[in-house]
Symmetry: C2
Subunit: 410 residues, 2 copies
């Protein structure tokens, strides 16, 4: 019992993602599609825009009618009418002619550009002076300039931000196909853990991890379901695991991986149908004592009980598994690391990847990552932290001033 019998690297742990299948696909009303993961590649069914649009309020003209126009030597144009919003103009524009147009209006045949209203003066109802030369195409969006027909708009596996939702709207995709959100069961274990509504007796502590893990599951776009607090007892755990496994796509057992209770967890997991233990320890700190099992093609994680360890394992291991189930394939602006410089020396043990909580500060206009030190049982260290930095497997430590990349904690 002294050593973990199957310790894997982060890369080995993450490779087990391929054991599990991506969620089914379902249509979702476009209004509810924000932050869902697109499950299909979407092509442009037409040009966007499908007609020549004005980008300004002013006059649609043939550019050549304005060549050489200045404040002192304006071009005089005859106003033929107004291009009404949303309608096809029933006239065309020739040399020396213009028509009123608003932003988003359709240019009449013969017009190739728009003169801003600020660069004109109306002389009478049918004549304007133009004070600047227009270039062909000026203040105009050409058909297909935003997207060309048959162009790929969005690839599958992408998280939909506001602009992607807008793009789907532009092409009439009012019910895009997305991946179902994974349902993640959370089981808190430990004879010392009491519900949040109870006053803990000496030696006991309220259930922090169910709430912390539920928040992190939500931040991943998945659906957390709490199965309460289970005492360190194989039968109770096995029963709850069976229930949770049926009703969800992944199971997290909080506090089930420390030496004292690990055997109870392993036994309860092993009693599930078609189970195998995939690993049993990861070479990271904090978070080494982490278990991954597979039962009926679903992932079950045994997570450390220390809140910081559980959060780090969640971010570095569980989250990539949830993203895999969720169908995420494309890189995401949420995953961009913030470059900063380390405020002090940090030591690290070789042979494991260390994750250090940091607070970001701006000092002399430069972003500085200031380590928040403290034991991994202390939640205050996560509350103070803006992000995590990584010290790689074969690095002994980092020096003050060294560049680091900070993964933000949302």
């Amino acid at each position: 019992m002294k050593d973990f019998f199957n310790v894997v690297t982060i890369e080995q742990a993450l490779a087990f993602r391929s054991v599990f299948s991506v969620m089914e696909i379902e249509p979702v009303p476009l209004m509810d599609a924000f932050e869902r993961i697109l499950a299909e590649s979407v092509q442009a069914t037409e040009n966007l825009p499908d007609f020549r649009r004005s980008t300004m309020d002013g006059y649609a003209v043939r550019a050549s009618s304005t060549f050489g126009a200045t404040e002192n030597n304006p071009a005089f144009l005859t106003v033929k009418g107004t291009a009404l919003m949303g309608e096809i103009p029933d006239f065309s524009i020739g040399g020396g002619e213009a028509c009123r147009i608003s932003t988003g209006g359709m240019l009449p045949d013969g017009a190739d550009s728009v003169v801003m209203i600020e660069h004109t003066e109306a002389m009478d109802a049918t004549t304007i002076e133009v004070y600047r030369s227009a270039a062909p195409g000026q203040h105009v969006i050409e058909p297909g300039e935003d997207f060309l027909k048959d162009e790929t708009l969005l690839a599958g596996g992408r998280r939909l931000r506001a602009q992607e939702i807008g793009l789907l709207a532009a092409f009439g995709r009012d019910a895009p196909r997305v991946y179902r959100k994974p349902v993640v069961a959370i089981i808190s274990t430990g004879d010392e853990v009491v519900p949040v509504t109870e006053n803990p007796a000496p030696g006991k502590i309220r259930d922090i991890n169910t709430y912390t893990l539920a928040g992190m599951v939500k931040a991943c776009g998945a659906v957390p379901v709490s199965y309460g607090i289970i005492p360190d007892n194989g039968d109770s755990l096995h029963q709850t695991l069976s229930l949770a496994l049926k009703a969800s796509d992944m199971v997290l057992i909080s506090g089930g991986s420390s030496v004292g209770v690990r055997d109870v967890t392993i036994e309860a997991l092993s009693a599930l149908p078609q189970t195998r233990i995939l690993f049993h320890g990861i070479s990271i700190s904090p978070g080494k004592p982490t278990i991954l099992a597979e039962s009926q093609k679903k992932a079950l994680f045994g997570l450390p009980g220390h809140v910081v360890s559980a959060m780090v394992v969640f971010l570095k291991i569980v989250k990539p598994f949830i993203e895999h189930l969720s169908g995420i394939k494309a890189p995401d602006s949420q995953n961009i690391r913030v470059p900063a410089h380390l405020s002090r020396n940090l030591s690290s043990a070789q042979g494991r990847v260390d994750y250090v909580r940091v607070k970001l500060k701006t000092i002399d206009g430069k972003l500085v990552a200031d380590p928040v030190l403290g034991k991994s049982g202390l939640i205050n260290t996560m509350v103070k932290a803006d992000g995590l930095i990584e010290i790689s497997l074969n690095v002994e430590g980092l020096d003050q001033g060294e560049p680091v990349e900070v993964e933000l904690l949302y």
Copy 2:
């Protein structure tokens, strides 16, 4: 009509936030508190933890009993029993004594440190060898080490991340008081705009902005409500505005601020009870033609119709107003800017703040912000972008390689 009669700077625009009141306060079940804004300052009602806890699986000892212990010269200790999880040990530890303890267990009286199980060997049922010297306090969390009684845990006005939810759980706050989420009405205007489910005739275009704005409202933690598409007609707009104003905390009118329809919007706004127009143009690009009105103490924005302009105005102006209503006071890790270097020269007009869309790339290990150029009527530029950079009011442009700060687009 040539000029905007009341153009303000960004700072002047944002100063109008103080005209509007913060939302009411409501309790929320802790499981639903993720990303809500805390409306109260929360104090520690007890020490966390409230007892001396082990952070390791091993043996609780008096450190002095192990002084000088090595592999070759181990300390022999008598095992007095086991500190059961969640219980007060009914024995104490003296010199030369130890008890079994698991991570999170309560140390018995007399013990001041924990020896990891890896550094011991059990000789028989009541004797262990210890191979390393323990320091007092080693592998122990002292009472109050995470938080001291009466310490402020969290200040009001803070967005609750997973770790803050966990902290509230630790102190039994199962129904924290948070600010109500603002309800934001979205009215799309324009004779050229058709519903997303329709096939647009030539000259018409599907309603992009309702969906884009709804996504951005959600990203702010507020609740979007769509009031459909209103033609460029004062009476229809006034009726819809009256309805929306009653049922929501803020109103966004998309496409109501360009010169052609501005008067219709201003007239419809002015016909509402107790209205005043606060400004009418902001010195930013894109997004200059933006209107802010107040009616019955609620904010009504007239936003540009171009999708990029509307998004930039939302991020730089509307979002800070929503955050004000939402009660956000503390800085947030979501607002951290990513430092990068510009990939090319950028020019800018003086006298306005320019926002440029950028894609982030890593080149030679350095983060580079690559401008995504294109008209503000083109949604593809926002889909390609990871973030926005700012070119300040009195800067003529930025040079290739200059440091910039990128605001990420989630």
